[in-house]
Symmetry: C2
């Protein structure tokens, strides 16, 4: 589960070139996702800050708490390791960082930072490096929008596991139905599929690494499926329910999402009609993900399928979003994002129909954009016939 | 799992009084923990921002994505709900916020924000509300340092579940030993205890809510236990191992942590000596948590036990930290934190000894500070005799 050195060499070289263009002497990288992306260090995030410096001259070091030293080293971090003892520290981590930058002749450097840096941290940094010139740059965010072949390989592997997690969820329900035992609860189903995905990671990979999680699952049953954002509950699945399994998995923190809608027992006409529109919107939404179109245009075309079916009042969210080291990242397949689709983006297509008191319908695949057109990375069957669970 | 309205009335009144003192017209609350604390809204965190406004005049509203509306309402959020459709939006969430503040006569308000606000968000906010005056304030962070009786009740309930999770982990190991089957892996043990804790939450409480998680577990076996911060691995527990179970649980997002060190089979003299020092440091560390002392002083006294035993080279971190809605929050029981212990803080006492290549020893309780002295909220047995798992 490790990206090759060649990958890190390439992204660091790309960054260094961009820093020179922007007139920056270096970038101070402060978020776990960007640090994992640029230097291959994956760590447990706490209040103890980690700062990665990448100079326009190629100089690189990573300041971290001492208790991460051995672990960073074992991961083969692509930067020199410098440590501070603890947080908050008699000498603050920021003072240690400043001392290191001064030692490297960077006391009055032009330093870039990402917009995610907190106002509190920036104030502290300005205080300890008064001669430096600070400016915000979204360069790493832009770089992360398109994926390298080594990353796409991990996205594909995550897709395989995500498909298997869906199958594991279905099997749990079928087994309960066969045995005549109680059907699983939302929480029980979620834990089962997450357990399956996590176990698969540990079985298949030697050195398991992640930034936020390995596998995740949201399970919405019956009327709860009409609330796309509630926290899971102890509600037990019932015959007649619409069920949404909304699953994610990440290999080396390269995520995919896969979501399917199931019906427990013979579907009603109402269920059939909502399902058909959700499925059609998703198909149109995926097919629309071709290079050179705007995210807004793709989104509108997808959601128009729902609006044209007279179900626009049941829309609660956009078509989708980019996926990478973070489960949600730019670009956004939404009206407000005018950026163009490029090759090698990984995007979700997940239009939803949410009927209050009745249920929700959402089918999602992770889609790779290519010069040959959109390619799905998740393949679990989508049709109603295939996703009716007979009772 | 819901705090009573009286709690929210009290914290909001306290905040309003503080805003007036600071000369602020209102506070823009932007982090999930602070929003949960002040208004009782617990939600799935994504890129879609949630902004809670609390005016010095008591006016309150919470701007959120439309898909959270029903869920916030069901939770009885203590603020008027205002929604925007989606992220990033043709009209940005920040523009919607600005419009709402202007509508309420706040176009040129003096607005406080927490240091955790990102530089990117602040830049956007300054752009959409050019007449406002923005200043950083740590008022909510300060308020969260001491706990209210309604919160302490939930911390205690979390302590009970955390103790049970430790017992569930031990039972899993004992059952494997009895059956002669393979011992569990780190990942397997972690999933088992987290599953136990999560299930307990759903069984005991009607409306389960959280900000980051319900139950968490880090499991370090054998030589891995000498690395206090590595991600869990597929290593299987072995006879002779030192084992650290580092568990956490949260009821209504009020966390506790409980950590125990076990030895699988008859301990060696080496294991006995490290264990004895870790236990003594933890006892001294807890006993030292009396009102009016500084965090730095308590920390030094605790870690001196390890240093005085000649094991100072095996220290990798401070004694502990505050616990609340976040698993780690101020104050910090560390040399760099000179703040005084007050009544009704919840703190971890978790000194550790990490011997490279051999193993780690860490025992942690969550401790409530009171006028009668420190009170442990976690009670699982601590002694070596009680935590040897016979083979």
């Amino acid at each position: 589960m490790r990206l090759p050195d060649a990958f890190y060499d390439r992204v660091q070289a790309e960054l260094v070139a961009s820093l020179a263009e922007q007139g920056l002497d270096g970038l101070l990288v402060t978020t776990p996702g960007d640090i994992a992306y640029l230097a291959g260090f994956f760590y447990a995030v706490t209040e103890r800050p980690v700062y990665l410096w990448i100079g326009a001259d190629g100089d690189r070091f990573c300041l971290m708490p001492r208790l991460d030293h051995e672990y960073a080293s074992a991961q083969g971090i692509q930067a020199e390791i410098v440590t501070y003892f603890e947080y908050p520290g008699v000498v603050t981590p920021e003072a240690s960082l400043a001392a290191e930058l001064v030692r490297r002749g960077r006391a009055s450097a032009r330093i870039g930072f990402a917009p995610a840096l907190s106002t509190g941290a920036l104030t502290t940094l300005r205080g300890v490096l008064p001669g430096a010139d600070w400016s915000s740059t979204s360069v790493v965010g832009r770089m992360r929008r398109t994926k390298h072949p080594e990353e796409i390989r991990f996205h594909r592997q995550a897709g395989v596991i995500c498909d298997e997690m869906l199958a594991a969820g279905r099997t749990l329900i079928e087994d309960a139905l066969k045995s005549g035992g109680p059907l699983p609860t939302e929480g029980g189903l979620a834990r089962h599929v997450i357990g399956y995905g996590t176990e698969a990671m540990y079985t298949r990979f030697d050195h398991v690494i992640y930034t936020t999680k390995l596998a995740g699952g949201l399970v919405y049953t019956g009327p709860n499926s009409a609330r796309p954002h509630g926290l899971p509950s102890s509600r037990r699945l019932a015959i007649g329910d619409t069920l949404i399994l909304s699953l994610g998995a990440a290999v080396a923190s390269r995520f995919v999402e896969s979501e399917r809608t199931f019906v427990i027992g013979e579907p009603t006409t109402e269920q059939e009609s909502y399902f058909a529109v959700a499925l059609r919107a998703q198909e149109i939404g995926v097919a629309g993900m071709t290079l050179g179109r705007t995210c807004a245009e793709v989104n509108a075309e997808c959601l128009d399928v729902i609006r044209d079916a007279g179900m626009g009042g049941y829309i609660q969210h956009r078509q989708g979003h980019g996926i990478g080291i973070a489960q949600h990242e730019a670009p956004w397949i939404e009206d407000g994002d005018g950026s163009l689709l490029e090759a090698d983006m990984v995007l979700s297509s997940e239009p939803g129909i949410y009927v209050p008191g009745h249920g929700g319908y959402r089918i999602s695949d992770s889609v790779l954009t290519t010069i040959h057109g959109p390619e799905r990375l998740t393949h679990y069957p989508r049709s109603l016939e295939q996703n009716v669970i007979p009772v």
